[in-house]
Each structure stands twice: as structure tokens, then as C-alpha cells.
Amino acid sequence: MTQDLNPVSWGAQDRYQAHFIVKILVGCDSEDYLARPTLQTKGHFASKKVTGVQWVGGELADALNKDDALSTMITKLPYEDAQIFVEPTKGGVRIFGRWKDSHDFAMTKELFAVYDRIALAIKNMSCPPPIKS
């Protein structure tokens, strides 16, 4: 019996993502809401730790770079969880992490706090709070 040298990969894989969606009224597919962190790290493999974060992208990335509390929260996350993507789509602005297999697919309190703070920045950007006189 011969083995297929070029097996076709098909079907759903055991890889999951949870997209945390922030629905804003207008312009949620705008490039301004694009943001990705560039992580400064130390160590290798299992001991790899995040030491700093620099957001790259649109206007949202500038707002996130000014948030020191958010940077501190991200440095406390495991390296895998600290890789966060913020993408604008027509259905809303999506915050999500890397693909995870079903065994690891769960949410931690610390990671949710980071996502919630990013969501707050998105909402403040789309509808800035009134200026107090």
C-alpha cells in the first residue's frame, strides 16, 4: 500500500479564537481602530517574559501607548496571552488573541481586564467623554 506524499489538509482544526467585539455607532471599520503590540521580552522558551509594550497601528494605538496602567497589566500576562490583535470590521471592533487548542481555550481574569481596558479606549475614541469645565 502506498502513502499519499501530498496529503490534503481539510476540515475544521482544533484551534479556537474568541473575538471580543465592541460595537460602536459609526466608522467601526476605520483604519484608526487598528492596533497590534510590539512586545519587548526577556528570556527564552517557557521562561520568556514580557517587559514592555509598544502599540503599532492607527489612532487607537496612540491612545493605548499613553495608557501606562494597560502596559503594566500586559507585562503581567504570559507571553502567549500578551499577543493581542485589535482589528476593525463592519460588525464592530474586534479584540482577540492567538489561536488556542480546545484544551487551553479559556479566559483568565487578568486577560479579560486587559481586553476590557482596550474596549474602554475604543469607546472613548468613538464617543469621547464630555470635557469637564
Binding site: 481539510w10 476540515g11 475544521a12 482544526q13 484551534r15 479556537y16 479564537q17 474568541a18 473575538h19 471580543f20 467585539i21 465592541v22 460595537k23 471599520d29 483604519e31 487598528l34 482589528e87 476593525p88 470590521t89 463592519k90 460588525g91 464592530g92 474586534r94 479584540i95 489561536w99 480546545s102 481555550f105 479559556a106 479566559m107 483568565t108 481574569k109 479579560f112 481586553y115 476590557d116 481596558r117 474596549a119 474602554l120 475604543i122 469607546k123
Partner: protein, 78 residues
């Protein structure tokens, strides 16, 4: 000798499973039926990046209350 496994098993949707993990960290979360939210009808990625997967499976949404996030969508690769 009896088998310790139950004769029946209850399949749980992936969004219901993830909803339970959100409840465990103290969030007010509720799993919705598939195709009940507008976010599921639009594209799931911005397409600003080239590596986004072309084929994904939608596993439904979860509504969150008392947070800045409106809805969570569960997606499977392939």
C-alpha cells in the same frame, strides 16, 4: 465488571463551554444561538493583514453585561 463511563453524553456547544469559563471569573455572560447576532453576518477579520485565515467556522456568540465589551464570538479555524 461495569464500565465507569456514562452511557449517554451531553454535547455542549463551544460558545456555551466558553461562556462557563467567563462565568467562572465572575462575569455576567449568556450564550446565544448561532446566527442571532449581526456581528456573525459580517466578515470576521479586517483583511489589513495577509495571514488571516480564509476558512473559519462560527460557533455563535456570548453576550456580556456590565463590561465595555458587547459580545464575544467563538471561531474555529477551518
Amino acid at each position: 465488571m461495569h464500565d465507569t463511563e456514562s452511557d449517554t453524553f451531553h454535547p455542549v456547544n463551544k460558545n456555551e463551554e466558553f461562556c462557563e469559563s467567563l462565568k467562572k471569573i465572575g462575569l455576567d455572560a449568556k450564550a446565544n444561538q448561532i446566527d442571532s447576532d449581526d456581528a456573525e453576518k459580517e466578515s470576521y477579520y479586517s483583511k489589513y493583514y495577509p495571514h488571516t485565515p480564509s476558512m473559519v467556522t462560527n460557533h455563535g456568540t456570548i453576550t456580556l453585561k456590565g463590561t465595555n465589551i458587547d459580545v464575544v464570538q467563538i471561531i474555529q479555524k477551518g
